[in-house]
Amino acid sequence: MGNLKIALVGNPNTGKSTLFNLLTGLNQKVGNFPGITVDKKVGFFKMPAGSTYQQAEVIDLPGAYSLYPKSKDESIVFEVLADPKNASHPDLIVLVADATNLRRNLLLYTQVADLGIPTILVLNMTDMAQKEGIAIDTDKLAERLGIQVMAISARSKTGIDQLKQAIANYNPIATQTKTIDVNAMEPEAIAQAKKIVNTENDYYALQVLNQYEHLSFLNADQKQSIQQILTAQQIDRNTLQATETVNRYKHLSQVLNQVIVDTGAQRKFIITDKIDAILTHKIWGLGIFLLVLLFIFNAIFSWSSLPMDLIETSFASLTEWGHQYLPAGVLTDLLLDGVVAGLGGVVIFIPQIAILFGLISILEDTGYMARVTFMLDKIMRRFGLSGKSVVPMIGGIACAVPSIMSARNIENWKDRMITIMVTPLVSCSARLPVYTLIISLVVPDQNVWGIFNLQGLTMMAMYLISILAAVLVAWVMKFIIKTKEKSYFVMELPVYRSPRWKNVLLTMYEKSKTFVLEAGKVIIAISIVLWVLASYGPGNRFEQVDQKYETLSANVQDEEALADLERHHSSELLENSYAGILGKSIEPYIKPLGYDWKIGIALITSFAAREAFVGTMSTIYSVEASDDDISTIREKLAGATHPQTGLPIFTFATGLSLMLFYAFAMQCMSTVAVVYRETKSWKWPLMQLGYMTALAYVAALIAYQTLK
């Protein structure tokens, strides 16, 4: 037979994902559930010999404390388990429970068990439980629950083969013993709901009564009928759920009686308490966090410089090689200057993204990130954010695309929307080349008070301004975005543990992959469009320019003079291209900001991705192409003057105005695409594009007009 479908279910922080990685190795794929933003992680492993199935298909469902969802995304757990028509509906549930905290973990088990799907209970971290003096009688537990109970430790990789064998031996008929008397809680409503959703299962019906609004497998008629039942029976769903939870815990007390012997309940906290006393200390706590931030910030830039240089040179030589050996023509140009250049623009960011998310994953894995959230919640809340907004906002320093995706951890809808809306304001690494060029152009390379470099200070100021803007915009949005959902912050503080390096590596790989796939396709598509806009012009303008330079170069022998002529040729072509014409046509609108049409062209070509700014400026000022060295382009720009007035274009006022524009303007279509994907609506990305452009324009206008 084909695949045995298995769903991994469990509380957060139970090592469920570690087990998933252990079972399936790298044989995984990440997809999407329709309609929600949770990643669908599916992996495969070969079944042990003797099984009727060849392969197991494992789906790692999001961690949840109960089948009642805390957010819209969490409802996927119930949807997958309850709806037999769901593509991921499992034949077997593997419920992962933390052995060091069994009672709370088994609450979810009792709910899942009542859905009547064959289930295996996996007690993870049994080695830790033993160390802490918790003894669990797994045989007695298995007997009382009526299912197989497997003790494993995913961290030390023990019990995995036995678990695979148990999966192979699973009983296709659900054997679990009954938990609580569900029907007795609301017999009439349950009977009616069972008819509407066509089920025999009481608990399924009860769950449907409770969370019908969010269930995608119900149609509008069914939802209406359920609502009528609730009104007719005068059911308060919160009270019903409270009663159920209390009953389940009572049941669990009986089940666990004489199963768990806990002789050292306090022991596991001793180390964690000591670490917490320092890391969340009134004064040291925030200080240490700032140091950690500084370290991350430094690592993103210093560790990535070597791989980024390598990527840049490889793509440059690839293009050069291509132009040399591929037949010259439009297709080659499109491939090399459109596609390869676009691809290079994507790949270049991988080192920074991998480093940042590697570090974040270490902080999350050790338990420190939960403490950061805990420490900063009060400040963040004041500005309409939540403690959990910290991760996406730190991530924004490298790239908004994966950071916005990491905002999924925020359960509260409003907090999450505000976080998504302001994350792109945090200065990402694509803005860095723009800042570097302009700062070197308009800020003198001097020291103030002996130690601080003026250029460095300006750069730091740009980052501070961006964070300040993000926080202020969040504060404004707090009053604009309306929600009925209450923001709450009940969160587990896991004990400190050493990071699992394999998980860290996997996170780095996955984040980079999603970035390449999500941002990559947008950047490449738009690079091609921009290439066309910059390589073609209306009518016979290009031919005229070509002819002019042909005549000019006919009499020139000197190679340097020829190369110079060639650069002016490209510059004039760009000026006459569609992009050039667009740049000129927006000049009246950007003139108040201190920009001319040349900057206008760069604004247009960097509309999809900011980093295109520097490249366009080099072409348009016909600068000799050189990889890293910005000194040549700097000289050119410094010498640029207004054709009418003869005054220099790049004054401090224009420079500051440009930097502020790039700090606030969206200028990143990958972010627009990812915001659309994460919010499932065009309303949010368009609102974001609108407010950021307006903010950028106004800030640049004020800066230029006051300083000019």
């Binding site: 905290n101 969340t280 939960a370 805990f374 009060k378 912050f489 503080l493």
Partner: protein
């Protein structure tokens, strides 16, 4: 007495909740009537607070702790 009235290091036993919606979430996380809770520490800015309950550490905002009645 509310849980939010306790100081770090003090203990109490959960009696009931003043908000049904919140109570469900708290109970799922192990805050059950009859359980002993201890305030572990306050965050550096005085809110949220970290508590120990049913064998693990949980953090919650003061306003949320105010929903829990203890004795």
């Amino acid at each position: 007495m509310k849980l939010s009235d306790l100081k770090p290091g003090q203990q109490g036993t959960i009696v009931s909740f003043t908000d049904v919606e919140m109570s469900v979430k708290l109970m799922e996380m192990g805050c059950l009537p009859g359980e002993v809770v201890e305030i572990e520490r306050y965050a550096p800015l005085g809110d949220p607070i970290a508590i120990r309950v049913s064998g693990y550490q949980l953090c919650l905002r003061k306003s949320e702790a105010a929903v829990i009645l203890i004795q």
